[in-house]
Symmetry: C2
Subunit: 367 residues, 2 copies
C-alpha cells in the first residue's frame, strides 16, 4: 500500500501540512490565516468571490488585462454588480480614477499585483491606502505572479485576501493555490450568501485547525511545496522572509537585465511605464507575428517564451523572471533573442549587444 | 526555464492532454465527452451539481454513508430541493424505495457506485434502469472508488455524468478529477442557472476541443495519469479496456481473499450484504477502538489501513484493494492483521489462519 504514496490521513501528512502552512505564513509575511487549496490559482480567486459576496453586492474590479477580466467574469458569475476601473493594456491605474470608483457601498475591491498578461505591475500599496479609508470594503489581491517577485506587505497595507499559486515563484508544478485571509474577511463570510462548497474557506479553516484539509489534497504537490519553501529558506541563510526577499531581488535583477537587453535590440517594452519584475512583455516588431518568435525560441533553443493571450496573441511575447530563473538564464534568453530577431526581422543584429546591455544593467544594479 | 517543468501552453502538453482524454474514454468505456479538472474528485462532484441544476430544482440523492451525505450538502449549498433515499450505513438501497422517490419532476439523481466510507457497493445498473424510465431525469454517479474496481457500463446504462479521481484505481497522487458527460447533460447545461466558474464544464469542453484546459492544469499529475493509463494498457496486453477489466478482476480477487481472511479471524464484515471490491470495511471487535488497530498497522507494519470517518471513527477499519494492491499485499495485510488482533483483543489467534482462508478463496475464485 506504500505504492499509493503519502496518504493524507496520516501523521506524516499532518506534519508536512502544518509545516507548509507555517512556512507560507512566513513567506507571505503575514499573521493572517493561511490556506492551501487543491486547484489552480483561479480556484482561490473564485473562493475570494463566492465566500466574500452575496448576489447583488457592489464590487469594484481594477482591470488592465486578461487576469483583471477574469475577476470581472468571476464576480458576474456569482451575481455581483461589477463596477470596473480600467487602464489600457500594458499600463496601470491612475490613482485618482481608482478613488473615484470607491464608495462606502463597495463591498470588495479586486485587483492583480502584477497583470501577467501584459507584464504591468499595479501599485498595491497606494490602492490599499485608498481602500482602507473605507471601513466596510475588503481588498483582494491576485498575487499569483506577484508573490515572490514584488514586495507586498499584507498586514501593514491591509490586504484582506491574497492569492498565490504553486507554479510561480515557488517553482513547483501547478495544482495548488495558497493564500492568506484577514480577520475582517472571516467576519464577512459569516453573512455572505453566494453558494460555495469545494472552495468553502470557513470549512477549510476549520479543517486546517486539525491539520487536515476539507477534501483530498494533492499530496505530492504538498511535498513539493514543502521542499520549495526549504529551498527559499536556504536562499535566506535559514530565514524564509530573507529568502523571499532574495527571490524578489533576483526577479528585479533579471527583469532589469531583460529590459536593457530588449531595448538594446530596438524592441519596445509593452509595459514600459509600470514594468513588473515577474515577467517582461515585449511588443512584436512591426510586421512580425510574435507566434513565430515564440515558436523559434522553443524549436531552436528549447526555451518557453509565452505568446500574448486571446486578442494579444501575435502582438507580444513574454519572458518570465520567476523562481529559479537567474542571471545565466537571462543572458541565455537574450543571446537567443538576438538570433531570433536576426532571423524573423531579417535585418542585421549586432551579436552580443543585448547581452552586453544586460551585463551593464547587472553591474549598475549591483552598485 | 526547463526547470519549470512542462509548460501547459506547449505542443508537448497538448499532445499529452489529447492522449490522456482519449485513453480515459477507453478506460471508462464511453463515447461521451471526457473532462479532467485540477481538483480532487469533490470538485467534479460540485460541477455535477452547479452545472446541472438551478436553485430550487428537485433532486434525489441516494445516500448510505459519508459520500452520499456529501451529495446532499453540495446540492443544498447550491439551493436544490433535496429528496433523499437512504439505506443504513454498510447496506445498499431497496430498489422499490428508490423507484418511489423518483418523479417526472426529479431533475437529477445523485449516487455513489461504491460508498467508500462503508465499503458497500450500490447496484448502479438497476438504479440506472429506474432513472432512464424518466425522460427528464439525469443520473450522476460518483465512481471515485468505483471506476476500475467495479463494472460500470456508462453508455449502455445511460449514466449522464460519471466522476473519477486520480488517486484511486489509476494509482497516481491526488489532485485530478476526471469524468464523462452525456449529450443529455450538455443540453441541460444550456438552461441551468446555478453559478459556476472554475468548474464550468461547458467552458472546459470548449477548451478541450482546442487541446487546452480553461485554467492552469496540474501538469505533473497529467504526466502521471498518462503513465498510469499506459500501465493499465500493458495489463491488458495493449488493450486499455482489457487492462481495466484486469484491474477490476484483481480488486475482486483481493476483496474476496480479504473477506475470507477477516471472517476466518471471527471478525464481522461491515458491508456484508453488498460488499464493494474497492475496499473491505471491517467492524472493530467489541471493546476495541479501530483507531488502535489502524495505528498498530501503521507503526508496526507501515501499512495504511483507514479508520472510519466522522461518527464511524473507532467503529470500523477499512482495507483498500484498488490499483497496484495485489495478491502479495493482501496476504501481507491479513498476516499482519493476525498479529494486530492477537495484541488488541488479547485472545489467542492461530497464526496463518486468515492467510490460509484467503489462499483458499484465491484458489476457488481462480477455478
Amino acid at each position: 500500500m506504500a505504492s499509493y504514496g503519502m496518504h493524507h490521513r496520516t501523521a506524516d501528512f499532518r506534519a508536512l501540512f502544518t509545516r507548509v502552512l507555517a512556512d507560507l505564513k512566513e513567506f507571505m509575511g503575514t499573521r493572517n490565516d493561511v490556506l492551501v487549496l487543491t486547484s489552480s490559482g483561479t480556484g482561490l480567486m473564485e473562493a475570494a468571490i463566492s465566500n466574500l459576496t452575496s448576489p447583488g453586492d457592489r464590487v469594484v474590479v481594477l482591470t488592465a488585462g486578461k487576469f483583471g477580466e477574469r475577476w470581472v467574469s468571476l464576480a458576474k458569475a456569482f451575481g455581483c454588480t461589477v463596477e470596473t476601473g480600467t487602464a489600457p493594456y500594458g499600463q496601470t491605474f491612475a490613482l485618482e480614477a481608482v478613488r473615484a470608483k470607491l464608495t462606502p457601498e463597495t463591498r470588495c475591491v479586486y485587483v492583480q499585483a502584477t497583470e501577467s498578461s501584459t507584464g504591468a505591475r499595479h501599485d498595491i500599496e497606494s490602492i490599499a491606502k485608498a481602500v482602507r479609508a473605507l471601513p466596510e470594503t475588503l481588498l483582494i489581491v491576485d498575487a499569483i505572479t506577484g508573490l515572490g517577485t514584488t514586495r507586498l506587505d499584507v498586514d501593514a497595507w491591509g490586504i484582506d485576501v491574497i492569492v498565490g499559486g504553486s507554479q510561480k515563484a515557488l517553482m513547483i508544478p501547478p495544482g495548488l493555490a495558497y493564500g492568506a485571509v484577514s480577520e475582517r474577511a472571516w467576519q464577512r463570510m459569516e453573512t455572505t450568501k453566494s453558494p460555495r462548497y469545494y472552495f468553502d474557506l470557513r470549512k477549510e479553516r476549520k479543517a486546517a485547525a486539525k491539520a487536515e484539509t476539507s477534501y483530498t489534497p494533492a499530496t505530492s504537490l504538498f511535498a513539493g511545496l514543502g521542499a520549495a519553501l526549504d529551498y527559499v529558506r536556504q536562499m535566506g541563510d535559514g530565514n524564509l522572509a530573507a529568502g523571499r526577499d532574495a527571490l524578489i531581488a533576483n526577479a528585479e535583477m533579471c527583469a532589469a537585465m531583460t529590459r536593457a537587453g530588449v531595448q538594446a535590440l530596438g524592441l519596445k517594452l509593452f509595459a514600459e511605464s509600470a514594468p513588473a519584475a515577474a515577467l517582461t512583455a515585449v511588443a512584436a516588431p512591426a510586421g512580425v507575428d510574435s507566434t513565430a518568435i515564440c515558436k523559434r525560441f522553443r524549436d531552436q533553443f528549447g526555451a518557453v517564451v509565452a505568446n500574448g493571450q486571446a486578442e494579444m496573441k501575435g502582438q507580444i511575447f513574454r519572458i518570465a523572471h520567476i523562481g529559479y530563473y537567474d542571471y545565466l538564464d537571462t543572458v541565455g534568453v537574450l543571446a537567443a533573442l538576438e538570433h531570433v530577431m536576426a532571423e524573423t526581422i531579417g535585418k542585421k543584429v549586432e551579436y552580443g549587444s543585448a547581452v552586453r546591455a544586460a551585463q551593464e544593467a547587472y553591474e549598475k544594479a549591483k552598485g
